[in-house]
């Protein structure tokens, strides 16, 4: 799909006198978009306003080209949502729950049931799908939430903290699934998280939000470019020699406690650095341009606009 998937114009959400969202204006293109912010920044509120779970106090918004205020039901047939909290229907089996969610989006029963099983396969749920959802572990709940969000084949999915409470393997699986939604199936994803590494891992565009205001909206590539000139090298042995070579080429560098070398080379690209290392016969195992760029941009954005 071309064109913006989300357009907001001065969206404000008030809870009494408190502005949870303050004049938020965005235009978001299709892709995998990370919505970053500290706890209480307004990420979930923004998603809920876009889905009309909370009415917008001021301003307007469009989702997939349709007006949120007047075409909410039509929008929600094309959008999926996995909320942060548990929201399973007590007493239902996992497969019944996903089937029911598909039916709520208008799928006929037989197709709903078939797709429910396909989506449960997709998210890696085995025989647990025949257990009551009340008995599920955190990981299973996260998978079922993801399955119900995509069972009706939406064009856009909002995932609110989908890796919360998962072990490393579960987290990796969920991130792979989410990544594949856009890369392989062209389903745009808005990933709301306070875990920078999750967003850094799979998102192409970043929106940083704090105190109800959008602080930064840019592609991850551009954000990393802002932190160009810093790199992290992983070399095998001969650390001292590498440090000497780098210093001789006007780079500031230091050996980190994990054995990696942080290089401040001040150049747009890391290629010249790799080039003179190669000339000296050094081949780094790994070279990470702009490591921790997202974290630094995030912290800088928060500090520029005041602490949350």
């Amino acid at each position: 799909m071309s064109g913006a998937i989300i357009e907001t114009n001065g969206v404000t959400k008030l809870f009494g006198d408190f502005a949870a969202l303050n004049n938020v204006s965005l235009s978001v293109s299709p892709g995998t978009i990370g919505l970053l912010g500290p706890n209480g920044a307004g990420k979930s509120t923004l998603i809920k306003c876009l889905l009309q779970l909370h009415p917008i106090s001021m301003g307007g918004a469009k989702l997939l080209g349709r007006d949120v205020g007047s075409e909410g039901r039509e929008i929600r047939t094309r959008v999926g949502y996995a909320p942060e909290q548990d929201c399973l229907i007590s007493g239902m089996l996992g497969c019944e729950y996903v089937t029911y969610c598909a039916q709520l989006n208008g799928l006929p029963f037989k197709e709903a049931r078939q797709r429910a099983h396909e989506m449960l396969d997709f998210v890696g749920m085995g025989q647990e799908r025949y257990r009551a959802v009340d008995t599920y572990s955190t990981g299973m709940k996260q998978r079922v939430k993801l399955a119900q969000a995509i069972v009706h084949d939406p064009e856009l999915v909002f995932l609110d903290e989908p890796t919360n409470g998962l072990d490393p393997r579960g987290r990796e699986q969920i991130l792979q699934l989410v990544e594949s939604l856009w890369k392989q199936h062209q389903i745009s994803v808005i990933l709301s998280s306070h875990l920078l590494q999750d967003v850094d891992r799979i998102c192409g565009e970043i929106i940083i939000i704090a105190r109800g205001e959008v602080l930064v909206q840019d592609t991850l590539k551009n954000l990393k470019a802002r932190r160009a000139g810093i790199a992290e090298l992983v070399v095998e042995g001969e650390h001292q020699r590498v440090l000497e070579i780098l210093r001789a080429n006007e780079c500031t560098c230091e050996l980190e406690s994990n054995g990696h070398i942080t290089v401040r080379h001040g150049r747009e690209s890391l290629t010249p650095v790799l080039s003179f290392l190669r000339n000296e016969g050094v081949q780094p195992i790994e070279a990470l341009p702009s490591p921790n760029a997202l974290e630094e941009v995030f912290l800088q954005a928060l500090s520029t606009h005041g602490p949350d």
Binding site: L51, L53, R73, R76, T77, Q85, I89, L104, D121, G124
Partner: protein, 335 residues
């Protein structure tokens, strides 16, 4: 190797309209209610009760047929009632409106709304179902999931309401219809249907209105709280309070207290719809003195009804229903 089975496929099938989605919510609501422990027993009791009533009415209908098995049994086997069947047939032939129509009307009046009736069983069923209607969705935050799907709050409430109506159909309307149909099974002649039809119409009108009012109240109470115990307690409390106030108000200066009982209000509505007062008047006109006999007179006086009584009952039921709607509007929303 990838950790996932990336077998996602896009769909290209039809998407059904909002009526279907509301129906899906209604079905799920009924299913959840039927899963409540003890609900199936209540359901069975309703239908067994209906079956017994139906058997009685079937026997009543067969009494009108000369040489039917029932008539023959009474004539030949029960000496005490030897002359009863022929006499009753003769009376019914002369006064079908009273012998058949009025008997059916009074019978269905008792079957649909008295203390030992399918209404009482339906109130029990509702008490058991209330925690599964909206309360559980509030406590599990499932309301957020509904709201994120292609259904609005209004659609959700309509679906839930339809679910309650389905439940009450199983406990109240269904048994009532089944009883009437069994009573008319192998009816002696077509006119028998016409004489019993008013009782059916009165029953359907009362049960239909009652289902709407009780359905709204049950949903309203279910939406009041996210605690299942509290929701059940409110329902039971409302019933008990009604019984107590109705008892205090009866025959006292504070007779208006009775109107605070929705059960009492429903009974007045039922009496009005069934036209019980009119039946007694017709009976008195036809058989002067009969309605002045001790017990009959007592019943007649207790069932007397004025337009003000009915208006007050309707007003109270309307207030309760409006309160339930306001509660639904205020409480059914995601966090």
């Amino acid at each position: 190797m990838a950790l996932i089975d990336s077998s996602y496929t896009h769909r290209d099938g039809e998407t059904r309209g909002i009526g279907y989605r509301r129906w899906v919510i209604a079905q799920a609501t009924l299913t959840a209610c039927l899963k409540v422990k003890g609900m199936r027993w209540v359901m069975w009791t309703c239908w067994i009760y209906a079956l017994l009533q139906g058997v009685f009415l079937f026997g009543f209908g067969q009494l009108m047929i000369e040489n039917s098995a029932v008539s023959n049994f009474i004539t030949e086997e029960l000496d005490l009632f030897k002359n009863f069947a022929p006499m009753f047939r003769a009376w019914a032939a002369d006064n079908p409106r009273i012998a058949i129509g009025m008997t059916y009307n009074m019978f269905f009046y008792l079957f649909t709304g008295s203390i030992v009736s399918s209404l009482t069983l339906s109130l029990v069923a509702l008490g058991m179902a209330i925690p599964r209607l909206i309360t559980s969705d509030l406590s599990s935050r499932a309301i957020t999931i509904y709201s994120s799907k292609a259904v609005s709050r209004f659609d959700y409430c309509i679906g839930k309401f339809a679910g309650v109506l389905l439940l009450l159909t199983l406990t109240w309307l269904g048994p009532t219809l089944a009883t009437w149909m069994m009573g008319n099974l192998m009816a002696p002649e077509v006119s028998f249907f016409w004489h019993t039809a008013p009782a059916l119409l009165h029953s359907v009108a009362f049960v239909g209105l009652g289902m709407v009012i009780l359905g709204l109240m049950a949903l309203g109470i279910s939406a009041m709280t996210s605690s299942p115990r509290t929701a059940t307690a409110v329902w039971v409390g409302l019933l008990l309070m009604g019984v107590v106030l109705s008892g205090i108000g009866m025959g006292s200066k504070n007779y208006w207290l009775q109107y605070l009982s929705f059960w009492f209000d429903l009974e007045l509505l039922q009496r009005s719809l069934f036209g019980i007062g009119g039946d007694f008047k017709e009976l008195g006109d036809k058989y002067p003195g009969f309605t002045e006999m001790g017990l009959i007179k007592n019943i007649k006086m207790r069932l007397e009804l004025t337009a003000e009584n009915v208006s007050a009952a309707i007003a109270c039921l309307s207030v309760l229903s409006a309160g339930a709607l306001v509660t639904l509007y205020k409480k059914v929303k995601p966090e």
